[in-house]
Symmetry: C2
Subunit: 225 residues, 2 copies
């Protein structure tokens, strides 16, 4: 469902070249749940942003459901993100002026699926334990509550591919398990494809396989082409 | 070194009353390392903000090194924070326009201890693995690198009391251990007092005792007066 071929991305800072991604090959099948683990600073979020079409690689290609994204223009990329992808950001990226419910429903509004979204919201809020916090703005919520709003927002349209960047970092173990069960159930029952970055081995074990990342590359033994 | 007596704090949202803290009693001795664990939304960050004099309780009192903070004015609170406390925020709160080094040195500048701070910065950056990222701005850093900048900033003046709100949530286990060792060493060698909120039991085990939190209260069995 989502594939990366020889992805590379570097940053230039003054006269320093930082190779954030150095030739990444990754293939995730439909209805597969993959976990990515690796040291802080090794390139995981950079990879996730390229997979999520939020950023452009310097070289290499991303395929979504078999379709190459290399030559798509901005409108086409926006449509693809809107229709196929759900992204859970490591730092949440909630809109401060909107309350939790409004933040969560944003993708449903954009995709013109607001009514379905509102039904879905009830179910998700229950599963994630945030039903009584939907009127709060982000600055009136705890760190873990904000994280769960970001999670619900990514899932509101039941997208084909979910990219989760460290979705349980601010959650206690009971709440983490609830979140991971929602993801696992989505894969098993509704054929979601999930790519999850995590630093927590217990979380990674909910996935079908674990990919190890280091210095902008996937370990040779975990590569798939 | 830091004490809370019967602390309470509520929030009013429309006609809903939220009791974030409901009579918290806590006493941490000098050179003690205490971990606080509890469910997401249970009031831990609220407690940390009161202990750090960043917010005012509705009732109850905070004591820093035996001194009551209840009747201090704003200037006195600012001076106490500057001279005695180091705070690691759950969401980092870095200044976007400053690079890592400038962010870290901010408390040293404020306390007029810039030279000592620059020496200290070299050591801390080494211990936290961020030496080659000091020129980067926050948006040019990974989540875990930002977290380590926030940690270094809290420690730059060797404060008497360090309040760490989930300091390892974005770090892989190896880097987490490095951070926890810095805190542990600070307590053992330099007599720091550390209060750390964490969702990670492995991290909590670096502390001398673990306090369990729930629904705005400390478990009866973990209370100390
Ligand atoms: N805009 C930028 N300019 C320069 N360097 C950058 C920029 N963005 C990221 N980097 C660097 O690229 C590397 C990879 O960053 P990335 O955010 O992908 O790491 P990560 O694996 O997600 O880490 P973490 O586990 O801490 O979240 C880091 O070393 C980071 O400092
Ligand atoms: N400004 C506010 N207005 C209303 N409610 C608030 C406000 N700030 C926090 N709350 C509520 O107070 C409760 C405690 O929040 P707090 O941030 O202390 O939780 P926490 O234990 O740190 O959680 P986490 O582990 O998720 O970080 C939460 O239920 C939160 O929704
Ligand atoms: Mg990251
Ligand atoms: Mg918190």
């Amino acid at each position: 469902a989502i594939k990366a071929i020889n992805l590379s991305k570097h940053y230039q800072l003054g006269d320093e070249l930082i190779k954030a991604l150095d030739g990444v090959n990754l293939s995730v099948a439909k209805s597969e749940f993959v976990a990515i683990m690796g040291p802080s600073g090794s390139g995981k979020s950079t990879l996730m942003h390229l997979l999520g079409l939020l950023d452009l690689a310097d070289s290499g290609e991303v395929f979504i459901e078999g379709q190459s994204t290399k030559s798509l223009n901005d409108d086409e990329l926006t449509a693809l993100r809107r229709d196929k992808l759900g992204f859970i950001f490591q730092n949440f990226e909630l809109i401060p002026s909107l309350n939790a419910s409004e933040n969560i429903l944003l993708p449903a509004e954009v995709a013109k699926k607001k009514q379905a979204g509102e039904e879905r919201l009830k179910v998700l809020a229950e599963q994630l334990g945030i039903t009584n916090r939907l009127e709060h703005k982000p600055n009136q919520l705890s760190g873990g509550q904000r994280q769960r709003i970001a999670i619900a927002r990514a899932l509101i349209n039941d997208p084909a591919v979910i990219l989760a960047d460290e979705p349980t970092g601010n959650l206690d173990s009971k709440t983490s398990t609830e979140v991971l069960k929602v993801l696992r159930q989505g894969v098993d029952k509704y054929n979601w494809t999930v790519v999850m970055v995590t630093h927590d081995l217990a979380a990674a074990k909910f996935a079908d396989r674990i990919i190890n990342f280091r210095d902008g590359k996937i370990y040779k033994k975990d590569e798939q082409k």
